[in-house]
């Protein structure tokens, strides 16, 4: 492997780890705020316990999210110094604002964590979650802005290898910014809901404490409802993204679907195997016209094919699988949560709500949603190849020439394994022998005294 490939591998590795914790970081504050809100509103100690236990686990993931986020922040300059030297003139603003949002979130999260019983009114404590939610979401928006700048650069002119006449706000609010931010936030919320649903379903399957059953059922119901709502949001966002790609980055959309010849009524290709020389796809499920429909809501729309682009400016063909897997995982979560809601809506189906098969499916939604996030980011990042700033700078021009890259990559690889393993270990042990009913009883008796 040459230094460019190692730098790409290390960046990919860091982001793949960070995105798990970042997604939790964006999605979780709204979840525990909702649980706490329901708890106070309904005067229900079970919801309050839910909020507290979620927050407790969250402290661990926040820590790992903070450190991996710090790593990627510095690695941008360490691994891609030429990119930062040139691009730094333009992306500095959103990066800077991201740290402010992060700062804001960190301060109020600290306050939130340590003031459960310090205020007279329970609502005061709940209000503190608002800046946490805002901080988390805005930090996602700003960082997505940096990434979308790399996809759809705007707000500068290129002269003698430097970016000049920079318009910071135009660069920040570039074309793909809104579409992507919407997608990022919606899928983060969706993923978080399903991860929590998976935990509740798992706890119901392997229930050690009979007294906790109603608590876990409440958790599952709440998260499945939220999951369905956010999945619908994610699907709308995904659809908007496809339409956006059709307009702005057609080579990316073409590569997603192995679409070689420009044509109307283009097929949507599902999985299959590609013969790159013959440009033929075998063993795939093809849905006629759907790609055109996705691109423009009209089966007769012409979709540009890859043959219209220079072959050295096309992304690797593997992105097709990422796309298929992302969509499959998302649809799976949608179906499971929809069935769950249906069994709640129709009395005749009630017996199925907490049936073993339903719970097993519920357990699968968490990993499926997380995988969808990973595949989605692999898709968008590798889909931008060979560019680091699309149309302006190729990845190969940006990588570091410093020695010791292999050693550094190995060290980080080991670090990530340790962090992933240990954080899982700590979180599992945190809840393994700790029944929820003790906290529920404690909270209700406390209220009784007051």
């Amino acid at each position: 492997m040459n230094s460019i490939e190692i730098a790409r591998l290390l960046t990919g590795m860091t982001l793949a780890v960070h995105i798990i914790f970042a997604t939790i970081g964006v999605g979780m504050p709204l979840m525990f705020a909702i649980a706490e809100f329901l708890g106070i509103k309904k005067n229900d100690a079970e919801y309050l316990t839910l909020a507290r236990r979620w927050v407790k686990g969250y402290t661990i993931t926040v820590a790992v999210g903070v450190v991996t986020g710090t790593i990627i922040g510095l690695q941008l300059s360490l691994l891609w110094p030429s990119f930062m030297k040139i691009g730094g003139h333009v992306i500095a603003l959103p990066l800077f604002m991201e740290t402010f949002a992060f700062f804001f979130e960190a301060i109020f999260l600290s306050i939130y964590l340590y003031t459960w019983d310090r205020f007279k009114s329970q609502w005061t404590h709940l209000i503190i979650s608002i800046p946490v939610i805002l901080g988390g979401s805005f930090s996602a928006l700003f960082i997505t802005s940096v990434n979308s700048f790399m996809n759809t650069p705007a707000g500068f002119e290129m002269k003698h290898g430097r970016m000049v006449n920079v318009e910071p706000w135009a660069a920040m609010l570039n074309d793909s910014f809104l579409v992507r931010s919407f997608h990022v936030v919606a899928t983060a919320l969706m993923t978080m809901a399903f991860v929590l649903a998976a935990i509740a379903a798992f706890k119901l399957l392997k229930n050690k404490f009979k007294k906790d059953t109603s608590y876990h059922k409440k958790a599952l119901k709440l998260t499945m409802i939220l999951g369905l709502i956010f999945t619908i949001g994610s699907m709308i966002a995904g659809d908007a993204s496809a339409k956006f790609l059709h307009q702005e980055q057609p080579e990316k959309l073409a590569a997603y679907e192995w679409h070689y010849d420009t044509a109307s009524q283009a097929d949507l290709v599902f999985f299959g195997i590609l013969d790159e020389h013959k440009q033929e796809v075998s063993g795939a499920i093809k849905i006629p016209g759907l790609l055109s429909f996705l691109a423009d809501n009209n089966v007769n729309t012409k979709v540009k094919g890859m043959n219209d682009f220079k072959s050295n400016e096309l992304p690797p063909m593997i992105v097709h699988y990422y796309f298929d897997l992302m969509v499959t995982m998302g649809v799976f979560c949608f179906i499971v949560s929809a069935i769950f809601i249906l069994t709640r809506l129709f009395k005749r189906l009630r017996t199925w709500t907490y049936s073993r098969i339903m719970l097993y499916l519920g357990v699968l939604t968490g990993p499926a949603a997380l995988l969808a996030i990973e595949f989605g980011w692999f898709l968008t990042e590798q889909g931008r190849q060979p560019w680091i700033i699309r149309g302006y700078m190729k990845v190969a021009q940006a990588a570091t020439e410093a020695g010791g890259l292999t050693l550094v990559s190995i060290l980080f690889g080991v670090l990530y394994l340790v962090l992933l393993f240990t954080s899982a270990y700590v979180i599992i042990r945190m809840f393994k022998d700790k029944p929820a009913y003790e906290l529920i009883e404690e909270l209700s008796s406390k209220r009784g005294d007051a």
Partner: protein, 338 residues
């Protein structure tokens, strides 16, 4: 003042804030481990945990803020520093990660493990050492340049008395600042058992820190004569004020009086030393390759950054004050009653 100067001033202030809060954090980690091993943990660890748990995450942000701002205001530093610092900065990052996550695992997890405590405490001492290396390199003399290609001279760095004296100064300073804060915090908590221990540490680390600073000055004369001369000839008064603050802090602590004032003196001492060092270093960010005028962000971006910065501060300062009020200045919380 032009944008570049405002930029570097802002960044230097943030780096200074990081040094203070991070020192408290890193030093406290080490003291926790030390107390645990010498079976004095019941005396101090609850005190340290009560302060650190709510603030450690905020500490980290000061650091992120500094380097994001540096790249934003001076993109050229990304090219030079990024290339040269790949290995040293990666080591710092790995240490920071171990420190941050194992701190959380140990303190928020279901129970404590001595190995985890040892990991975060020791990582906490190596971080200042490894971060100080970045400052060392910026003094020049450790980089070779062939055309566009930059290389770090490892052997020179390892064998240089200057780099080692900076490393030791960093570690000692961390322990000094941390024990200074904890003395103040313990006296506020009226926790006299803990107070006795941390006050002893503070007095213990003061003199070697001053000795080490003098040694850094002497070796700087060899490493970067121009910087040394500017520091001694033009800004000598900064270092004198710093030393006076040190003496006042030491006397107050010895007399067991006014620990709040004593800690403010420690901050001022650091402030004058750090800003004296910084201002005498200018105009170079990385000697002799990067100066603050060359490669600074252009007008529109610099202006946007400064606007964003002011808007950010309007949000941040009240929030930070709220955090302090809840966890440092709230007497009942400090005493462990909340």
């Amino acid at each position: 003042m032009d944008y570049a100067q405002i930029g570097i001033l802002v960044l230097w202030i943030f780096l200074f804030c990081y040094i203070i809060v991070a020192s408290i954090d890193f030093g406290a980690g080490f003291f926790t481990l030390h107390a645990k091993i010498t079976h004095q943990d019941k005396r101090v660890n609850h005190l340290i945990a009560r302060y650190l748990n709510p603030v450690w995450e905020v500490t980290n942000v000061f650091f992120v803020f500094f380097f994001v701002g540096l790249v934003g205001f001076f993109p050229d530093t990304a090219k030079y520093m990024g290339t040269v610092l790949l290995l040293p900065a990666s080591i710092s990052l790995i240490l920071l990660s171990i420190r941050g996550s194992f701190y959380a695992f140990e303190n928020y997890g279901p129970d404590t493990k001595l190995q985890w405590l040892a990991m975060y405490a020791l990582a906490g001492l190596f971080i200042p050492a490894s971060l100080a290396t970045a400052l060392t390199i910026s003094e020049g003399g450790y980089i070779t340049k062939h055309g566009d290609h930059l290389d770090l001279k490892w052997a020179e760095l390892f064998l240089s008395p200057f780099s080692w004296s900076v490393v030791f100064l960093a570690i000692i300073t961390v322990l000094y600042i941390s024990s200074g804060f904890l003395t103040f915090y313990a006296s506020r908590a009226e926790d006299w058992r803990a107070y006795k221990l941390v006050r002893y540490w503070f007095i213990f680390w003061g003199p070697p820190m001053i000795a080490m600073s003098l040694f850094v000055f002497l070796t700087l004369r060899i490493q970067n004569r121009a910087h040394f001369l500017t520091a001694v000839q033009d800004y000598w008064y900064m270092f004198v004020i710093s030393f006076i603050c040190f003496i006042v802090a030491l006397i107050l602590t010895l007399a067991r009086k006014a620990h709040g004032v004593a800690f403010i003196m420690v901050i001022l001492q650091m402030f004058f030393a750090f800003f004296g060092y910084g201002i005498s270093k200018l105009p170079y960010l990385l000697y002799p390759y990067v100066t603050i005028d060359h490669g600074a962000a252009n007008g529109a971006m610099a202006l946007a950054l400064i606007i964003a910065f002011i808007a950010g501060l309007v949000l941040l300062i009240p929030s930070l004050l709220l955090l302090m009020r809840l966890f440092v200045f709230d007497k009942d919380y400090v005493k462990g009653k909340k």
